[in-house]
């Protein structure tokens, strides 16, 4: 999905103001797990753009949801 105008990114509080290569707003790299009830169950926001969550950990969290 493409959040072209960052509307959803803003609603989630994940905008990196002027963080793009041309000074434009971009999202902070983040991973959010939402359970079947629509509740946030796990959030990871990186403080170093080289570092992202290990997919194995994300999979384990999802598998652990009832």
């Amino acid at each position: 999905m493409a959040d072209r105008d960052l509307a959803v990114t803003r609603r989630y509080g994940l905008v990196h103001v002027a963080g793009g290569q041309g000074g434009e707003d971009v999202p902070l790299p983040a991973t959010v797990i939402v359970d079947r009830n629509g509740l946030v169950r796990w959030v990871s926001v990186t403080d170093n753009f080289q570092v992202r969550p290990d997919p194995a950990i994300v999979a384990r969290v999802v598998q652990g949801l009832s």
Binding site: M1, P29, I33, V34, R36, G38, V40, W42, V43, V62
Partner: protein, 132 residues
């Protein structure tokens, strides 16, 4: 085996190049990708080796080797500890609270609504920048 200063200086430069190459080549491995300080540590060790070569023989070759290693170490340190750093988010997300609903187009333009998954399956949302 005790390396003479020339090969030792070369070893330093090769180790510096290998530190960067290994990180880039192993980016697909989360264990490596998520420890970017490893390449900075590799560059620091390479610089130490080149400095050792210079203490044994001061020549254009050993000076150049140390210069290359110091430059790469400075660049790597700046990239990892300054350029790659991101500000803390103004996150409104709290674990246990409802995820804000949204509708966005998928790759084919068809609308996807988060709330439609309620009662059906968990959802993983990944926010990324498009070009890195």
């Amino acid at each position: 085996m005790r390396l003479t200063p020339g090969p030792l200086a070369l070893l330093g430069v090769l180790a510096a190049a290998a530190s960067i190459a290994a990180y880039v080549l192993l980016l697909d491995s989360p264990a490596v990708r998520n420890r970017p300080w490893l390449y900075v540590a590799g560059l620091a060790m390479a610089t130490t080796v080149a400095a050792l070569a210079l203490t044994r023989r001061r020549s254009a070759g050993t000076l150049t080797a140390l210069g290359v290693c110091v430059l790469l170490l400075a660049a790597g340190t700046f990239f990892n500890f300054v350029a790659a750093r991101l500000p803390a988010p103004a996150t409104v997300l709290r674990v246990g609270e409802p995820a804000p609903d949204f509708t966005l187009g998928d790759a084919k333009g068809r609308p996807v609504t988060l709330a439609d998954y309620r009662g059906r399956k968990p959802v993983i949302l990944v926010f990324y920048r498009g070009y890195w």
